[in-house]
Amino acid sequence: MAAIESLALPGACRKLEEVPAPNARLARKFYEYMFLMREVEDRIERKLYRQGKILGGVYVGRGQEAIPVGAGMAAAAGDMLFPSHRDMGLFFIRGVTPGQIFAQYMGRVGGLTRGRDANMHMGDLQLKIIAIISSIGAGVPVSAGSALAQKYRGSKDITWCFFGDGATSRGDWHEGLNFASVQRVPLVLVCNNNMYAYSTPLEKQMACANVADRAPGYGMPAEIVDGNDVFAVYRAAQRAAAHARAGCGPYLIECKTFRMTGHSAHDAGDYVPKHLWDEWAAKDPLEGLRRTMLENGWASEEEIEEDRARLLAEIDAAVKWAEQCPYPDPSELLDGVYEKPRGE
């Protein structure tokens, strides 16, 4: 794996300070958000979907939880986030509740889109979290525009754009990276390279070895990290954020990971060779984090169990709440296509 740095960078942008080491408090937060994401998604994909309580597509980030959580915890409160459809952890970090997410998946008014859109297609401008659209990669130039606005205002906030390996084949991805680099906007690009875009394996997706290999063509620094190691993702994200916040322009992080599921709930992923499931199951990010916490004495088995029990109870209550949320009223069908004229 090549570590790549652009020659076009000014000298000041080459020497970024090492970031502080993780501690027990941070590790416990990582665990909480990763566990929440794993369990909420499991509940959605393996229970509610199969019970017929969720219609439509279900896309989860099982095995990739370290990426949104590691990067999201490195983001500042004022930063704008553009999650991909496998980044539920970002929503928890920003304060979205499991109940809101269940309601979103069930098409209830308690969801972030009040039944207007499905699954991970949700956002909240107040929380500075932008809803994805289904044309994968379309959010990349939009995120560059968000970062352009932050530069325009002289803000210290930056923008984080998340996407998978498949997105990097889209023209929009390339237009967005080029634009962001030329304008030197404060943008961190976080790729979850999970080796499959729906059923298409990497070698049918791109002819270079790494997504990061594409960055030098845009004069952009990039690094490759173990996407199943939340500390590695967090440290890379801190470096990237420092770079962007210092006015040095965009920065790409490629997180190597694996999608421990089919593309969606209706896809068993039969096209994935069995050995890959086994290899990556052994690298489970949540289990890896638990081991690290125990080895470093950051939490005891009992403390971790307590956290898990508390979160599971919260999830049970959230499902109940969402199931009691009403469906949207058809009389509101046309509301919000346009801004209401003043005075109405």
């Binding site: 379309a138 130039p141 939009v142 560059a144 080029n178 801004e339």
Partner: protein, 323 residues
């Protein structure tokens, strides 16, 4: 002093940039060069690089960046160098910008300017009128001004609007149309047509450069004893249906005219609404006039044969009056 259509647009943007520090322009060759049609001439010198953003050649990237800046509360005015290239940004416009408010209550307060139209020997990729690709996308607003007054007033309204606005400005009008504009500040409301010429016997509902084709035909018809009313739609989405219907109820004969090709053109929508809501007032079938279903050709004799003109309108109008 009379102001040209192109200068009116420039003035409108300029005034809005002076009024609101969140307004900025973004597009290809708009800075140092001042834009392919000089709509942004002088803006870089006056407002600086921060507010006049020259971009790489990437229409999708430009519209995407405008959307993202809009999420941050800015009011970008994006330029498509030619309306023909707006197809490169189609997904950003119809899937991203148009649906955000409905999906998750996120306003996208952007303007996309698109120089459109033929008659300038631009050939198949510098002459199209792609407005009808967008008039069937809920969430968008689509404007097609014909006069300098409306061009200035509508671009200002579009910039202040909190929904994504597509502003189709006809290249053939840029320096051909001149008029005295009011001294002070004014805007033109989005979604209101106006009667460009009053008449009693025949309505021509049209927009953009075809307003002048209708006017030329109307002058000849006047001498033949036919009084023509011209409805300039000005905005296509949302369309001011009532002004059209009111005119049709008065004249009972109607031509729907546009420069875009006929099949699936916006005229089809107008004709359908007249048929649905004013059928009993009609003395004759609704007539649609547009360009024939063919790419815009380059060679002058071909382009002349392609574009609607006063002669073509006259022939159909005489048939309609004789029906």
């Amino acid at each position: 002093m009379a102001t040209t259509y192109v200068e009116a647009i420039r003035q409108g943007i300029w005034e809005e940039m002076e009024r609101d520090p969140d307004v900025f322009v973004i597009g290809e060759d708009i800075g140092v060069y001042g834009g392919a049609f000089k709509v942004t001439a002088g803006m870089l010198e006056h407002f600086g690089e921060r507010r006049v953003v020259d971009t790489p050649l990437c229409e999708s990237g430009v519209v995407g960046a405008a959307i993202g800046a809009g999420f941050q509360g800015l009011r970008p005015v994006a330029e498509m160098q030619f309306a023909d290239f707006i197809s490169c940004a189609f997904d950003q416009i119809v899937n991203y910008a148009a649906k955000c408010r409905y999906r998750w209550n996120a306003p996208v307060p952007i303007v996309i300017r698109a120089p459109s139209g033929g008659g300038i020997h631009g050939g198949p990729f510098h002459s199209q009128n792609p407005e009808a690709w967008f008039t069937r996308v809920p969430g968008l607003k689509v404007m097609t001004p014909a006069t300098a007054y409306d061009a200035k007033g509508l671009i200002k309204s579009a910039i202040r609007d909190n929904d994504p606005c597509l502003f189709f400005e006809h290249k053939g009008l840029y320096r051909r149309i001149k008029e005295d504009l009011p001294e002070g500040e004014y805007t033109v409301p989005i979604g209101r047509a106006r009667i460009f010429r009053e008449g009693r016997d025949l309505t021509i509902a049209t927009y953009g450069a075809m307003v002048y084709v209708a006017q030329e035909a109307a002058e000849t018809l006047e001498r033949e004893g036919v009084s023509v009313e011209i409805v300039d739609l000005r905005t296509l989405l949302p369309v001011d249906e009532e002004t059209v219907l009111e005119s049709v109820r008065k004249t009972s004969r109607v031509i729907v005219l546009h420069e875009d090709t006929v099949t699936g053109g916006f005229g089809a929508e107008i004709a359908a609404r007249i048929a649905e809501r004013a059928f009993e007032y009609l003395d004759a079938p609704v007539v649609r006039i547009g360009s024939p279903d063919c790419p815009v050709p380059f060679s002058p004799p071909l382009e002349d044969a392609f574009l609607p003109n006063a002669q073509k309108v006259l022939e159909r109008a005489r048939q309609l009056c004789a029906y």
